[in-house]
């Protein structure tokens, strides 16, 4: 077990992380870092954060034993950490509340955010409404087309949705555009990043605001099962915010941890988002990490049926946990995740997000290799209402074949 404290003062997780951004925003990262460190060491801020998570988002979220699913599947018992029961339907709100409270504390009146599937966009628009901030959400033209419902939700919440037409018109380009906007408006604007990515201190900050997932899970597991700790913990990984939040308190334990990436149509095709399985070291969105790219360094477009996992990079701490072998990263295809989603639906009455379905799919495989007195905890990062349209197209498409 590694005892190294990460990140170091330069925001490094081993060789990963850092701040690869234009000089214009370096001062803002320093300002953000000191405001963040000051806030989280202030008991009043932590008390307020806890209160908001409880009375606004409905925390703590339950840890549910998936009885029938476990029985049908065989092997270890499967527990679901129900982040889908948060306000707005996913874990994204934990981080959005944390960063919005920080923005307010710093006296910022404007927030900007990037979004892919629209879940983080909705979370950002929600907290902007709640705390009286103006909000611009950058979203790729292609994603706007695919996620019309979330676009409408953001507008209802009073946010301005800005269509991004550069590059491949998806999450990576929306993030580039949000960074460009931040460079221009850095003096009065707070950039609310949605995943555990970006330049230091963002990965550290997002982890801090998501670690409530893992902390609650640890306490709840101790209470509801006969054992102190689960025998495995599984979470899906796009940028990696729900996973890093779930893993956070377990990293110093011996519990095996599994991150599940999107294999799309298969890791041996050109249509996947398996950054750790197939990527190499490079810089994306201000951070040195693993990413999908050509040998010359042009960033390539990932693919997954799940828009939230459809990202060519990954948070730098995941790259570090991968290289130090503390976390095992696996990849699950579109097909496997849809099968798992259906199985969870009919056995537990829970429609999870396509992202979370990747974690469920892997946990089913893993549980079958374990004893029935063992336990697997899965982070059910979000609910699946947003994916109904995609599922309908897929299920009806398959039936029509």
């Amino acid at each position: 077990m590694t005892a190294t404290i990460v990140p170091d003062h330069r925001g490094r997780y081993g060789e990963f992380g850092g701040k690869y951004v234009p000089e214009t925003i370096m001062f803002a990262l320093e300002e953000l870092e000191s405001a963040f460190e000051e806030a989280i060491s202030d008991p009043a801020f932590n008390k307020l954060l806890q209160k908001e998570l409880a009375i606004y988002s409905g925390r703590p979220t339950p840890l549910t034993l998936a009885n029938r699913l476990s029985e049908t599947n065989g092997g270890a018992r499967i527990y679901l950490k129900r982040e889908d029961l948060n306000h707005t339907g996913a874990h994204k709100i934990n981080n959005a509340i944390g960063q919005a409270l920080l923005a307010v504390r710093m006296g910022k009146k404007k927030i900007i955010a990037e979004t892919g599937a629209g879940q983080h966009g909705v979370a950002a628009a929600t907290v902007a409404a709640k705390y009286g901030l103006s909000c611009k959400v950058y979203m790729g033209k292609e994603d706007i087309r695919r996620q019309a419902l979330n676009v409408f939700r953001m507008k209802l919440l009073g946010a301005q949705v800005i269509e991004v037409t550069s590059g491949s018109q998806t999450l990576k380009d929306a993030t580039n555009e949000a960074i460009r906007e931040w460079v221009a408006s850095v003096e009065d604007t707070f950039y609310l990043i949605g995943s555990a990515v970006g330049p230091h201190p963002y990965p550290k900050m997002v982890k801090r605001f998501q670690e409530v997932i893992g902390i609650e899970t640890m306490e709840q597991f101790d209470v509801i099962s006969e054992r102190k700790l689960p025998d495995a913990v599984v979470a899906c990984v796009g940028g990696g915010s729900n996973a890093i939040g779930m893993f956070a308190p377990f990293i110093q334990s011996d519990v095996p941890l599994y991150g599940v990436e999107a294999a799309g149509l298969g890791v041996d095709t050109n249509h996947h988002a398996a950054t750790l399985s197939k990527g190499s070291n490079g810089v994306i969105h201000g951070s040195l990490t693993k990413l999908l790219q050509t040998k010359e360094g042009q960033i390539t477009e990932p693919y997954s049926i799940s828009a939230g996992l459809d990202y060519p990079g990954i948070g730098p701490e995941h790259a570090y946990l991968h290289d130090t072998k503390r976390v095992t990263y696996e990849a699950v295809t579109d097909q496997e995740s849809i099968a798992a989603l259906k199985l969870l639906c009919v056995n537990e009455g829970i429609l999870c997000a396509l992202e979370s379905a990747h974690a469920v799919a892997y946990s089913l495989k893993l549980a079958r290799t374990m004893d029935e007195n063992q336990s697997v905890v899965v982070c059910l990062s979000g609910r699946g209402d947003k994916d109904v349209h995609t599922l309908m197209e897929h299920v009806e498409g398959v039936e029509a074949e």
Binding site: V21, E23, T24, V283
Partner: protein, 268 residues
């Protein structure tokens, strides 16, 4: 520093440093545009490298990058393009403008070796701030390559002091917040910023980002030692794209006419 940098430093003119994208709209056009810029009085040349995710650039340079990518232009080919420019008579310093990921994939060691072999004089990496640049800085200094420092109006005073002092080649002062691209207005307090930069710099202090007309450029003649024009030039190249592919001679004539109309009458 080499002879090319020496004559750049010793020049008494108000220095004009243009930016163009390698491979936009094709390699031969890049060569002829570079030579035309030299004839128009460019003191140095910034050569951009096409990149999929140019987060410090506005739409004009983003589109130029897409055109360059369409020509399969890479960082390595951009470096070797410089030796072709030298063969064709380019005598001014050439600075490669590349995002850090391209440099990482080529390898920083390999970059400096290739740069030296091909007559490159400097390097500018818009997403590599000073804090992350110590290794590259050392590599460049071993090969007498200038790693150009950028300073912004938001740069803290003590950092501005340090960067100005250590600057090599020239000091690049960003005129305003935001990405590259044409602007109609500049920031208040810009002359104080330029003054502070100039106090400590041992190299010429140049102003860039958003300059697009003779009137704008002349505003800085007293407070800086030169200026950089990117988007306005790249925009012109975009409008000449077809002619640059088919009827290049005429296009180059028009391009030179445009550059002449942009430049202030040298008076220093």
């Amino acid at each position: 520093m080499n002879k090319r940098w020496e004559s750049f430093q010793n020049s008494t003119q108000y220095r004009f440093v243009p930016y163009i994208m390698a491979g936009d709209p094709c390699e031969e056009a890049t060569i002829e545009l570079s030579l035309a810029l030299q004839e128009c009085g460019a003191a140095a040349l910034e050569l951009g490298v096409p990149y999929s995710d140019p987060l410090a650039d506005g739409p004009v340079i983003q589109r130029a990058g897409m055109r360059g990518l369409g020509q399969n232009m890479t960082l390595e080919k951009t470096i070797t393009l410089v030796s072709k420019l030298r063969e064709r008579g380019l005598k001014i310093p050439v600075i490669i403008f590349t995002y850090y990921n391209l440099l990482l994939q080529l390898g920083e060691n390999r970059f400096v070796t290739l740069a030296e072999e091909n007559g490159v004089d400097g390097l500018l990496v818009p997403d590599l701030p000073y804090e992350e640049s110590s290794y590259l800085r050392e590599m460049c200094s071993n090969r007498h390559l200038a790693l150009i420092s950028l300073v912004a109006p938001t740069t803290h005073e003590d950092k501005l002091h340090k960067l100005s002092k250590e600057a090599q080649g020239f000091l690049y002062c960003i005129s305003s917040l935001g990405v590259t691209g044409v602007r109609s207005e500049f920031r208040d307090g810009l002359s104080a910023f330029l003054h502070a930069a100039r106090l400590n710099a041992n190299v010429p202090v140049l102003v860039g980002f958003g300059l697009s007309s003779r009137e704008q450029i002349q505003q800085f003649e007293e407070t800086s030692d030169g200026f950089i024009v990117g988007s306005a030039i790249v925009n012109k190249i975009e409008s000449l794209e077809k002619q640059l592919m088919s009827n290049r001679e005429e296009a180059i004539m028009e391009f030179k006419h445009f550059i002449d109309s942009l430049l202030p009458v040298y008076s220093r």
